[in-house]
């Protein structure tokens, strides 16, 4: 019972960390960034390089953010910006970028599965249950991410302007807000977060050129049911992630893997706004 609760909480935390970057980009730019999976892969390899170089595994996180962010800048400038008025094409183009990133990584690192060192090993005793220390640490990291992003959005001028662009871009522009700059910064931040997410999941799984793709669809569905709110994303991660854990343990792991996508599709059919307010 306790183990299952911990599974639900840690799964939700991982999903939250993976989906925040996508949510930010979706909120501001109204496009789904399919390169998110590729950027996660990039972050995973950044972690691999960091640990293979003998550096502290925690350094993988800023390194992944840097890689993701820089590549994100290029993507925004040269691919996403020209497709501003063609949102479905933006999905396709970012998916193409995901392919490009995957193939470049394959050429550089080979196709094989590799393993990055985990910053935390072993287990912790919690409520009489012995549980993976790293998974527990992820809950803390996801919380820090969520709080930091909320602070950024609620407490800074840039955050205020970003929220303004999310709510009503034309009105924001009329008030002197450079929405193009806001979009650029958001996409960069979203890409950096994708890199971080990739680095965070590497100790849980392996590193390979296609590692980001399986996460992409779940993250994408979570974002669609959450609208543009970090809070409803948290809710969605807990509900849908929880459902995934329950289905996986009580029925079959395979069905568990489908839970988020199928539930989200049904939720959106019944309530097109998903968990978002209004």
């Amino acid at each position: 019972m306790i183990g299952q609760m911990l599974d639900i909480v840690t799964t939700a935390a991982i999903l939250y960390a993976v989906a925040t970057g996508l949510l930010l980009v979706f909120g501001v730019m109204k496009i789904i960034n399919f390169a998110h999976g590729g950027l996660m892969t990039l972050g995973g390899y950044a972690a691999l390089v960091t640990t293979q170089a003998g550096l502290n595994p925690w350094l993988a996180i800023p390194a992944a953010a840097l890689f993701g962010g820089v590549v994100g800048m290029g993507i925004e400038r040269f691919v996403v910006r020209p497709l501003y008025n063609r949102p479905l094409d933006a999905i396709l183009a970012t998916w193409g970028l995901s392919i490009i990133i995957g193939q470049l990584i394959t050429i550089a690192f080979g196709r094989g599965v590799q393993f990055a060192a985990s910053p935390l090993n072993g287990t912790l005793d919690l409520f009489g249950e012995s549980y993976s220390a790293y998974r527990l640490a992820l809950v803390g990291i996801a919380a820090v991410l969520g709080i930091a992003l909320t602070a950024l959005l609620q407490g800074t001028r840039l955050g205020l302007e970003t929220r303004a662009v999310i709510m009503n871009e034309d009105l924001a522009r009329g008030l002197g807000i450079n929405s193009g700059l806001v979009r650029f910064l958001t996409f960069t931040l979203g890409s950096a977060l994708a890199g971080v997410a990739g680095a965070l999941i590497t100790p849980l799984s392996s590193v390979d050129p296609g590692m980001g793709v399986p996460w992409l669809v779940n993250a994408f569905m979570l974002v669609l049911v959450s609208g543009a709110s970090l809070l409803s994303l948290l809710f969605a991660c807990l509900v849908l992630g929880g459902a995934q854990v329950l289905v996986a343990t009580h029925f079959s792991p395979v069905l568990g893997g489908l839970t988020i996508a199928v539930l989200a599709a049904v939720i959106l059919r019944i309530r097109p706004k998903g968990f978002a307010r209004d």
């Binding site: 998916w95 970028l97 193939q103 994408f220 599709a265 097109p272």
Partner: protein
């Protein structure tokens, strides 16, 4: 070009393609024949992606699932039940039937009234993920991750498989080509371009999308069935997201909306992949990925149009372009006896009773109560935000109002969607001219007639019978001389006239017009005015008109309803309204009847929250 010549030309090209397929095994090496057999089948699936995405506007990532449906049906039946002729038919039936069932479920989920394009794409994206997982979890039944292999299949030579696949591709491509160029096929483009207008022309667009989706699923399933028979191996990757997106990539590279582009895109890329994958697998994928991004950003129409445009431009330099061929469509007037539209029920043409419309806590319409008879021309006036357009919307779409009843021709519209309201006799013209921009005048009118005259799936009609009212508008405005002009080249006034004729082609009993004269010149306004009077007087239509120009209202209306802040403040003759002091104040002061213009600041006053 006559219809018969056009169709024979298509068939001639198809025959030439068949001849090329037949010659294939004699000129190609064994390896190429082997690879191309697969590519030919993939191309048939890419064709269905193009029908859905390029023509109907539904970006789909899930066509791989239907391919896998056909393939797995063959694999499962031949593995678990042995191969026999009857089992072969059983497998084909199961494959196609299964694909249709899945497509029906997906269609119900994705194409309901009001679903967004993004949501539909999302559903098609979830589909392959669900399908692969189910195949993985099927244990020995589906062969899990390694799939099924080693089953018996049709005893055909490699050449025969090539011919079968090739003929199948040529067959479906030809049929698809004839279909998209036919009168019925044009509906696909119309739905993609302006789904709202289609609904208000009485077309059930959800049903159309589901039908096309079902047909595409069946084609993909047959391709998959042939694939399994020839390859004698099926694997979960066939249903996968990666294959689903590859199909989209081939379609985009070849050129969406061209049919031949995606077919050649699939053939070339898949064939080259097989050739190069051995030597430079990752570099090749990288090139395809880069090319794909480049095409999406810079050449959204794909490469086929680019390839065709270059020689056409070069030729254009040499000789002047010949004028566009005259339209082959001729107009005729329907017998008025057969254009009465819906049988009138009891009572007035339009009865609005106690209609309320709220947006959240905001009440936009309240206690709207009036009736209008056939032959009446009622103008709806009132300042901005009075609720005029909202009222029109409530009459044309049963789902709009918050409370109250609306009867058209004595039939309660209930909660019916716009297309069902059209069937009851409602015709709505929008405020901004709302036509199909890329279609010609004649084509726009044909689509407006689809509700009455079922369009052919393979032919293009050469005559277009229209009700007298629509003909009258066309003749008065001179649109009947511009039948071959694409709608986006028309002037604003001509677009308004075209939309009016389209709505009249529906044979409505109740005509809703939202500012039909906005942006028109003086002459055009007079023409429209005369037409409207004629429609009401001679054709017996009940016309409800939103209008700001009170001069215009005075000229044409028999009766005026003044709306203000969501309520009817006056319902009377034109003279009464013109003489009304209240109406003057409503207009002059945005409704603050009686306030003095000697305004003085009174900062002490606090507004209640």
């Amino acid at each position: 070009m006559t219809e018969a010549r056009r169709l024979s030309l298509i068939l001639a090209v198809a025959l030439a393609a068949l001849a090329a397929i037949f010659a294939g095994p004699y000129v190609l090496d064994t390896y190429s024949v082997n690879v191309l057999t697969r590519s030919l089948l993939y191309a048939a699936v890419a064709l269905t992606v193009d029908l859905l995405w390029g023509f109907l506007g539904i970006l789909t990532f899930g066509q791989s699932v239907f391919f896998a449906c056909g393939a797995y049906a063959a694999g499962l039946v031949f593995t678990h039940m042995d191969f026999s002729t009857s089992n072969a038919f059983l497998a084909l039936g199961l494959g196609v039937g299964g694909a249709l069932l899945v497509a029906a479920i997906v269609g119900w989920l994705a194409f309901w009234h009001g679903a967004s394009a993004l949501y539909a794409s999302v559903i098609t994206l979830v589909l392959p993920i669900v399908a692969t997982q189910l195949l993985y979890s099927g244990g020995t039944f589906t062969g899990s991750s390694s799939g099924l292999s080693g089953f018996m299949s049709f005893d055909l030579s490699m050449e025969a498989w090539f011919w079968l696949s090739g003929s199948f591709l040529v067959g479906v491509t030809t049929l698809a080509y004839i279909f998209v160029k036919s009168d019925a096929g044009r509906l696909l483009v119309a739905v993609r371009e302006n789904e709202q207008r289609c609904k208000y022309l009485g077309l059930d667009t959800s049903r159309l999308k589901i039908l096309v989706y079902l047909a595409c699923a069946a084609i993909a399933a047959v391709a998959g069935y042939i694939y399994a028979g020839y390859a004698m191996v099926v694997a979960p990757e066939l249903a996968g997201f990666v294959f689903g997106t590859e199909l989209v990539i081939w379609t985009a590279l070849g050129g969406r909306g061209t049919l031949l582009g995606p077919v050649f895109g699939a053939l070339i890329v898949d064939y080259e992949s097989a050739q190069l994958a051995g030597d430079y697998p990752f570099v090749w994928q990288l090139i395809i990925g880069t090319l794909f991004v480049l095409v999406i950003v810079a050449f959204p129409r794909g490469l086929l149009p680019v390839v065709f445009d270059v020689p056409r431009k070069l030729l254009g330099l040499l000789r002047p372009r010949t004028a566009a061929p005259a339209t082959s469509v001729t107009l005729s007037t329907l017998d008025p006896a057969s254009t009465q539209g819906v049988e009138p029920g009891d009572g007035p043409a339009l009865a609005v009773a106690d209609v309320v419309k709220r947006f959240g806590s905001l009440t936009v319409l309240e206690g709207i109560d009036f009736e209008a008879r056939a032959g009446e021309l009622v103008s709806l006036v009132g300042p901005n935000g009075a609720g005029k357009t909202t009222l029109m919307r409530c009459i044309a779409d049963g789902a709009e109002r918050s409370a109250g009843t609306i009867k058209v021709n004595g039939y309660d519209i209930g909660r019916k969607p716009p297309e069902a309201c059209v069937a009851l006799g409602v015709g709505r013209k929008f405020q901004m001219a709302n036509v199909f921009e890329t279609l010609t005048v004649a084509q726009c009118l044909q689509i407006a007639r689809v509700r009455h005259a079922r369009p052919s799936l393979w032919r293009r009609a050469s005559d277009l019978p229209l009700p007298e009212a629509a003909m009258h508008v066309l003749a008065t405005t001179g649109l009947d001389r511009q039948l071959a002009t694409p709608a986006h080249l028309l002037s604003h006034g001509m677009k308004q006239a075209l939309e009016l004729s389209m709505v009249l082609a529906l044979e409505p009993r109740v005509l809703l017009l939202d500012e039909p004269t906005a942006g028109l010149t003086k002459t055009e306004r007079m023409q429209i005015g005369a037409i409207l009077i004629d429609l009401a007087k001679k054709q017996g239509l009940c016309v409800l008109l939103v209008e700001h120009d009170l001069d215009f209202v005075r000229e044409i209306s028999s009766r005026v309803i003044v709306l203000h802040q969501g309520r009817i403040v006056l319902d009377g003759s034109v003279e009464e309204v013109v003489a009304s002091e209240l109406v003057k104040q409503v207009y002059a002061g945005s409704g603050h009847a009686g306030i003095d213009h000697e305004t003085a600041p009174t900062p002490s006053q606090e507004m209640p929250a």
